[in-house]
């Protein structure tokens, strides 16, 4: 393996200074980054290990009713925090539907948000990829692309963002807290990941040295606790990325949907917020016809980027399913097969 510097800064300021150099990269639990390094896809000259930074591993309820999750909280710890799971059930379900128990025990909040695409050509150092090498071309365009994007893609890149966690988060208006060279700032999660356009290599809005320190769920996110689900179709029951997934969170009052929040995963280079569909649902009585209409609205701009037209149909059906399940009410506990369409099966 290539030689690199490894630093373990004592505080956030030192971390930012250490990571501001060209070629430096933050290292959290490394479940994504180390794989990329071993495959020769990432070759950082310096790793800035953030896992010992003090104070970033807490879940805090703030006075304004929002929830602040430090970047070092492990995916499993967050999902298994009883109050968190009760208050943001779709987020917990999404987390537990991802990867494997071992990976979730290690993976951090920041690492999950910042994980790279699973596009096979991105991982294969021998292929042309605009994300790895701007201007090289995109081998996925004419290649194996049945799992690639159907929304927001460009000829420059058709990759998807693989995170499950991000899908309900983007629906719930999560906010990312960032510390950088010029101090602290915040960004809606929706603005963290970028669509590829002409510059697929610019995957996120982070600048060099920027460190995600926390994630915040605003006070209103709690209001959806009674009607929130995450549904994920994948190629095996566990330990697989989403083919397509959806998060639905509803605020239902007097038999009407007061407010709907919808996210789609596996369809674009970012976790996809389906706002048009939310508009369709607002004020409507929860029924199958309006779910279908909403689903159509959500995918109205979709187009296949390859052998993946089925994902447009599938995404609509998953949205309908997520809405149906959410309207029926959040289950008492997270199902044993989180996110699985089979999770309603007793004992499954």
């Amino acid at each position: 393996m290539m030689n690199f510097d490894y630093v373990r800064p004592a505080n956030v300021a030192d971390a930012i200074a250490a990571a501001s150099e060209k070629g430096a990269s933050y290292l959290a639990s490394g479940t994504n980054l180390l794989d990329l390094m071993k495959g020769g896809v990432s070759r950082p000259s310096r790793l800035v290990d953030v896992t010992r930074l003090p104070g970033l591993d807490r879940i805090e309820r703030l006075a304004d009713g929002s929830l602040r999750i430090g970047t070092l909280v492990r995916n499993a710890d967050l999902a298994h925090d009883a109050e968190f799971a009760r208050t943001y059930p779709a987020v917990a379900e999404a987390l537990l539907s991802g990867a494997s128990a071992q990976l979730r025990n290690a993976a951090t909040v920041g690492g999950n948000l910042m994980q790279r695409t699973r596009c096979a050509y991105f991982y294969d150092a021998g292929s042309a990829c605009n994300r790895r090498w701007p201007g090289a071309g995109c081998d996925a365009l004419q290649g194996e692309n049945r799992l690639h994007a159907v929304l927001g893609w460009s000829e420059g890149c058709i990759a998807t963002h693989p995170s499950d966690f991000c899908v309900p988060l983007v629906a719930l208006d999560a906010i990312v807290e960032i510390e950088g060279k010029s101090g602290r700032r915040e960004l809606p999660l929706e603005a963290l990941h970028r669509l590829p356009g002409e510059t697929p290599e610019r995957e996120t809005a982070l600048e060099r040295g920027d460190l995600i320190v926390a994630l915040r769920l605003p006070a209103e996110a709690k209001d959806f606790a009674g009607h929130a689900r995450y549904v994920k179709v994948r190629e095996r029951t566990s330990y697989a990325f989403a083919v397509v997934s959806a998060a639905a969170a509803l605020r239902i009052e007097h038999g009407k949907i007061r407010e709907a929040r919808l996210g789609l995963g596996g369809v674009a280079a970012k976790p996809w917020r389906a706002r048009e569909a939310e508009q369709v649902l607002a004020g409507a009585a929860p029924d199958a016809a309006v779910y279908s209409e909403a689903a159509r609205a959500a995918l109205s701009d979709a187009k296949p980027s390859g052998d993946n037209a089925f994902k447009i149909e599938l995404a609509q059906r998953i949205l309908v399913r997520a809405l149906t399940l959410a309207a029926a009410g959040t289950p008492d506990r997270i199902p044993a097969l989180p996110g699985s369409p089979f999770s309603s099966v007793a004992g499954a």
Partner: protein
């Protein structure tokens, strides 16, 4: 003295059953769960250094340059082995000395024949330095257009398929069979490339001592490996000492020593120090064999009564551009169903991949899923229940040869598994069943079969002065439980309790036990052990019965029975003498005997020998989202004598899960332009995880087979895949009404066929 006993005669003094047949837990279990079992890569001889292979990222062409200087400058790098700088070999690695000598890439030229081929080896003081050295080689290539997939080129008729089977077999009058068909099912299926992906990567620790070579490496065939390495390095096979006590799976990929393992030996020779070389997971997708993709057209004709008139099974397969291995996929149609006319034929296309090789049920798996799916289609076309259809066309004799079966309890398998599953009352039409949550439910079945194969193997048995026994055989434990099952046979063959036996295995210094493949290891080595034990006991009996001072005097060899370390008179059990006493009186330190096991050619020419089984599957399918989940698997198998029910059950579970994997998950995805494999890792090369494995039920049906071998063993290693894959696929059809003919069944094929 060697005593060869007839393979079909049960020596009078032997009583199997004290140990054989008992559900003993693994003798190596504690070692494994405590991490004390030493696998090849766990060895660190003094002075050992690390070798890392640099692999090609193109599938066809030439390496134009390697930046050897850059790699050598990297701290810790000792040397870089390239076509220009490597030890001389005594034999061309492309020579075909025998049908099992597959061509390997040992840096003999700058040609690239497939992606992930070795193009250099970097040797360094640390694994990290060697890894980085390999990256620094920055190869430049002259690229040629890769030939990828089943349509990559002109198809041709291969000379043979599998191990020497004819590429085309005709039985009966095909045209007449076609003409007699009132209904003809004509379907074309595709199966994907698959890679063995044993948990333990191919690894080697090689130490040279003059012209002696010591290697730790996982092997399913140490004898074969010795011969190949001996030829390549020009040293006698006896100079090569292979240690292979445990394998973390092999599935056929460790049957023959592979190029990368030999490169480790070359590296050790080049620098004159012990070398360890371990493949990365991604490097296992190329040089160590795979199951090639197939396209199979099958035509099944039936008359008005639903009786078969013809099976015409054609398979197109790929093989490498530079060697010949032909997956005998269509041969699956030879044995199962009684059709008056059967034709199987193969054609091949050369592509730029590594050479495909034996992968757990080679041919049987690829052919079975297609045959069992097509039989399901034919039954459905006739409106006949799939089980009834199979019974109607039950083969009483082997259809293509007319030979009787040495034993065949398939009817009982059908009956028992169907009953346990609750098959009766299954609706004929698909899409009729739903569970209480509205998921579509489907039931499918398949017939399992696998030939009872034997290779050649040897064993040596010893009775020591203290009356304890030793059995020695260079057998291979791939995780299937050879350390336990073969020891059970050993104890019985020596008339000892299990704890009176020392069982030695897993080393090439012991008698050659042949190859652990073809589900024939227990049968082959078991026979060798049986004969070795019998030889020693015969000598012991001779000593005792000829000695006037012995209570056994005059009983005659056939008049004694061995049990728990004593010989007893057959006609008076109370008169007995311990092995130790017999030897002590004779003043003999130890008695030994050898035995060998191999197929009995006479019995083989007379009988068709196969294991059989029946598998029933239930799947549930989400009616809108198309997500499939297997919810039940029941299999009943008749495979001759069961040596250890626990090990056998595990083998059958594993096979059935593999079948499920074949139907729903497993596939190597290759870029159609570059020929690179895009999912060469266990995150994206999907096999079932625990959550995919349904409750499973395995039934073994008693079968006493007096013809296959002295112990009546048929083998259980591979049969579980056959039948199961088709059963799952047929269940998906029964749930959805959608017949997917492209495996693994993908979500889009189901989703787009469902109404939504």
């Amino acid at each position: 003295m060697t005593v060869e006993l007839s393979l079909t005669r049960d020596p009078a003094h032997l009583r199997h059953g004290s140990n054989i047949g008992q559900p003993m837990t693994r003798t190596d279990g504690v070692l494994k769960v405590t991490g004390k079992a030493r696998y090849a890569a766990d060895n660190h001889p003094p002075g050992m250094v690390y070798a890392v292979i640099a692999t090609s990222c193109i599938a066809r062409g030439r390496v134009k340059s390697l930046d050897v200087a850059a790699a050598k400058r990297h701290p810790g790098v000792i040397d870089v082995m390239t076509p220009a700088h490597k030890p001389e070999l005594a034999e061309d690695p492309d020579a075909k000395g025998n049908p099992f000598a597959f061509r390997m890439e040992l840096l003999q030229s700058d040609a690239v024949r497939y992606a992930n081929q070795a193009i250099a080896v970097v040797i360094a003081e640390t694994l990290e330095a060697a890894t980085e050295g390999a990256a620094l080689l920055s190869p430049r290539y002259q690229v040629e257009i890769a030939r990828v997939g089943l349509d990559a080129g002109e198809a041709y008729a291969p000379p043979v398929v599998g191990i020497g089977n004819p590429a085309e077999v005709r039985h009966g009058d095909i045209d007449a069979g076609m003409a007699a068909a009132a209904k003809l099912t004509d379907a074309t299926y595709e199966t994907p490339a698959q890679y063995h992906n044993a948990m333990e990567p191919h690894a080697i620790v090689a130490v040279w001592d003059g012209d002696r070579l010591f290697i730790d490496t996982p092997s399913q065939g140490m004898g074969f490996a010795q011969m190949r390495v001996a030829g390549l390095f020009g040293i006698p096979p006896a100079n090569i000492h292979i240690n292979s006590p445990f394998l973390g799976g092999g599935f056929g990929s460790k049957g023959l020593i592979s190029g990368p393992q030999v490169l480790g030996i070359m590296a050790a020779k080049l620098i004159g120090r012990p070398v360890k070389l371990v493949l990365r997971r991604s490097q296992m997708y190329g040089p160590v064999g795979h199951r090639p993709p197939t396209r199979q057209r099958i035509r099944i004709g039936t008359d008005d009564a639903g009786t078969l008139t013809v099976i015409n099974h054609e398979a197109r397969i790929t093989t490498s551009s530079f060697d010949d291995f032909y997956e005998p996929a269509a041969d699956a149609s030879h044995t199962l169903y009684a059709s008056p006319a059967i034709r199987t034929a193969h054609e091949a296309v050369r592509v730029d991949t590594g050479t495909p090789l034996f992968m757990r049920a080679p041919g049987e798996a690829t052919g079975s899923i297609v045959l069992e799916s097509a039989i399901d289609e034919a039954a459905f076309a006739r409106g006949i229940d799939p089980l009834e259809f199979r019974l109607k066309n039950y083969a009483e004799v082997e259809p293509t040869t007319g030979k009787p079966f040495s034993s065949k309890a398939l009817r009982q398998c059908y009956a028992k598994a169907a009953e346990r599953f609750g098959w009766a009352g299954r609706p004929l039409l698909p899409k009729q069943m739903r569970d209480e949550y509205g998921f579509l439910v489907g039931w499918g079945m398949g017939t399992a079969t696998f030939p009872a194969i034997m290779f050649q193997g040897n064993a040596r048995a010893v009775i020591r002065a203290d009356g304890r026994g030793v059995m020695e055989t260079g057998a291979h434990d791939m995780g299937q439980g050879a350390w336990t099952a073969l020891a059970q046979i050993s104890a019985d063959s020596l008339g000892l309790d299990f704890d009176q036996l020392t069982f030695r295995s897993g080393s090439s210094d012991l008698p050659d036990a042949g190859i652990a493949g073809g589900s024939g290891h227990t049968a082959t080595v078991g026979a060798a052990i049986h004969n070795a034990g019998a030889a020693v006991i015969a000598k012991l009996a001779e000593l005792a019965t000829a000695d006037q001072r012995s209570p056994l005097f005059g009983a005659g060899n056939a008049g004694v029975v061995a049990r728990s370390g004593r010989l007893h008179r057959r006609d008076d059990d109370a008169r007995s003498e311990s092995y130790a006493d017999i030897l002590a009186r004779a003043g003999i330190a130890e008695l030994d005997g050898t035995g060998s096991g191999a197929a009995d050619a006479a019995a083989q020419s007379q009988y068709a020998m196969h294991a059989h089984g029946a598998v029933f599957a239930e799947v549930k399918v989400d009616p809108q989202l198309g997500q499939i989940r297997a919810t039940r698997l029941v299999g009943a198998f008749a495979a001759g004598r069961i040596i250890n029910p626990l090990m056998v059950r595990s083998q059958l579970y594993g096979g059935m899960i593999w079948g499920l994997s074949f139907a729903l998950h497993e596939e190597a995805v290759m870029d159609r332009r570059s020929g690179r494999i895009l999912n060469a890792n266990l995150a994206e090369y999907h096999v079932p995880v625990n959550a995919d494995v349904p409750p499973m039920d395995v039934i073994t049906v008693d079968e006493h087979d007096p013809h296959v071998n002295p112990l009546g063993i048929k083998g259980v290693g591979e049969i579980g895949i056959t039948g199961s894959a088709g059963a799952v696929a047929n269940a998906v059809f029964h749930a959805t009404g959608i017949r997917v003919r492209n495996f693994p069944i993908k979500i889009e094929e189901v989703v787009m066929g469902l109404a939504g």
